[in-house]
């Protein structure tokens, strides 16, 4: 009996640990903790990162920050968000830039810089791994890995 109980305990703790290990590699969208946004839908995230709108639903002006192509999180983010390859994202932005509509968001090279940007801009919004999101930012959207 105690052996069985022990096995059950092991199984439960393994089940509990399992998603946590996956969650660690998960990308999340974070905003400045003071911008008044608690959660976002996928469409709202897409609208901001693609420059279709420049404000959160509460009217606060959004200041999105992207990552450089060289950082693997960028490809992971757009793949998880829309199933899009970086070439398609870059094609989209080349249309916006060369038609004279708008410039893409600033691109940074590391998650630390992204967090710094989000913290230092009232409407800052970026993406990092969940494990890197600290108390200075708020997680508003989680991407399935």
């Amino acid at each position: 009996m105690p052996v069985r109980r022990l096995l059950l305990l092991c199984l439960i703790s393994w089940l509990l640990v399992q998603p946590a290990a996956e969650v660690r590699a998960e990308l999340v969208v974070v905003v400045n903790a003071r911008c008044g946004v608690a959660a976002m839908t996928r469409n709202e995230v897409v609208n901001l990162f693609f420059g279709r709108t420049r404000q959160f639903f509460n009217g606060v002006e959004a200041q999105p920050v992207d990552m450089l192509d060289s950082h693997p999180d960028r490809a992971r983010f757009y793949n998880a968000l829309l199933g899009k390859d970086l070439s398609e994202i870059n094609a989209y932005w080349s249309r916006q830039v060369f038609s004279g509509r708008m410039q893409p968001p600033t691109k940074l090279g590391s998650p630390e810089e992204v967090l710094k940007w989000v913290v230092s801009h009232p409407g800052g919004i970026g993406f990092v791994e969940l494990s890197k999101a600290d108390a200075r930012v708020r997680v508003v959207y989680e991407l399935a890995p």
């Binding site: 200041q63 249309r95 004279g100």
Partner: protein, 398 residues
């Protein structure tokens, strides 16, 4: 003939030289970094090196009516090759100045660089954007990015839809306003200005400079769907360059001066995951007797597999005949007739970061009377209305 080939070669070399110089420049200045609250400068560019050939020597295939000559049975780089450079001055959060220059085969058979845009952009609120200066016109969806090959799937925007549109820029202003409706977005844009440019017709040029243009659209974004309805018009400043060979009564009948042409269009785009699907429809109503009203459209679908995106498309254009008892006028009107369908099969291969290679086949199946979309209009009805076009391009941005 040899001289013509040599000229073509020197033009290509000039283009390459300009490209090399601009790449060096871009490297020198570095990639644009828009630091917040600070003035920054950026330099970016795009280009295409393309080659195409057709299966007919009876007439010349052009990308749109801004080109005076086109492609026949020999491989030819004039149609699709282009180089563009954009300099941006980000003044502060609200103001930005942009100048863009392009070089491509243009109305006077040269590659003289042109300033395509030069404007100041002002964003007074996050919802509102105002621009003034020399602006691209969005007559139809994507009309203002027609030369940025890297930004779209096909080798060139489907011709049956865009041939009629040799208008590229206006001197004027535009305003765009975005209304968030829950997760969806409604975008409204309006523009007004005076057109800039010339349209080559036979060995003459039709001056459309200073012709007033007015237009706008309503656009609705629902998740991965984008739907747009647009209207635009142009009131021609000048008559067609028909010379003095026609009787005065015919010239008067064919007058375009101060006549307004209306452009209506509807576009639906679906863009999610590996899929890209576009449906576009247009209707053009000519306010003059010289050109025929027309309906055109295209359906295009692509599916990405890793770095390769095969695509299939179908486009069509058909103008409505109108007869004139005047034989002179009838001949001129017949020059603006179109009645054809095109099948498109191709693939885009994203070989490296910011570089795409494309190969495409276009099968034009039309009536022998369909001659408006081409150059060097055939005499004696040698044109069968059927032609295949093979194209290869390398598109890049930097």
């Amino acid at each position: 003939m040899l001289v013509a080939k040599m000229l073509r070669l020197t033009d290509a070399l000039r283009l390459l030289k300009l490209l090399a110089v601009s790449c060096a420049f871009a490297q020198l200045i570095g990639t644009p970094v828009l630091a917040d609250q600070e003035q920054t400068f950026s330099l970016q560019g795009f280009g295409t090196l393309g080659m195409a050939r057709t299966t007919s020597n009876d007439l010349e295939f052009v990308r749109d009516l801004s080109q005076p000559g086109g492609i026949k049975k020999n491989w030819d780089g004039r149609g699709d090759s282009v180089l563009g450079l954009q300099g941006g001055w980000h003044i502060n959060k609200e103001f930005e100045a942009v100048v863009q220059a392009t070089t491509r085969y243009r109305y006077d058979r040269t590659y003289h660089p042109e300033i395509s845009w030069a404007f100041v952009k002002y964003d007074p609120t996050p919802n509102l954007t105002l621009r003034a200066g020399r602006l691209g016109t969005e007559f139809f969806m994507m009309a203002d990015s027609r030369w940025v090959g890297y930004s779209f799937l096909t080798v060139r925007p489907p011709g049956d839809y865009f041939w009629y549109l040799p208008f590229y820029s206006i001197h004027g202003l535009d305003a765009a306003y975005t209304v968030p409706l829950g997760e969806h977005l409604l975008r409204i844009k309006a523009f007004y200005g005076h057109s800039d440019g010339k349209i080559p017709l036979a060995d003459r040029q039709w001056e459309i400079k200073d012709s007033p243009m007015l237009g706008g659209f309503l656009e609705y974004q629902i998740a991965s769907w984008l739907i747009r309805a647009s209207y635009a018009n142009i009131t021609f400043k000048n008559n067609l360059p028909l010379g003095t060979l026609l009787p005065a009564s015919s010239l008067e009948y064919l007058a375009t001066k101060d006549r307004r042409t209306d452009y209506y269009s509807l576009g639906v785009v679906y863009d999610q995951g590996p899929w890209q699907v576009q449906l576009m429809l247009n209707h053009i109503e000519q306010g003059n007797n010289a050109l025929e009203d027309s309906n055109g459209g295209y359906l295009l679908a692509g599916y990405r597999i890793a770095q390769v995106t095969p695509y299939l498309g179908y486009s069509w254009v058909r103008s409505e005949r109108h007869a004139s008892p005047d034989p002179y006028a009838s001949r001129v009107i017949a020059d603006s007739h179109s009645d054809q369908k095109t099948s498109i099969v191709g693939m885009r291969w994203d070989v490296a970061r910011n570089v795409a290679v494309k190969a495409q086949w276009d099968g034009v199946r039309g009536d022998p009377t369909s001659i408006f979309p081409y150059r060097n209009d055939p005499v004696n009805g040698r044109w069968s209305g059927k032609m295949d076009i093979y194209s290869l391009t390398v598109d890049f941005v930097f």
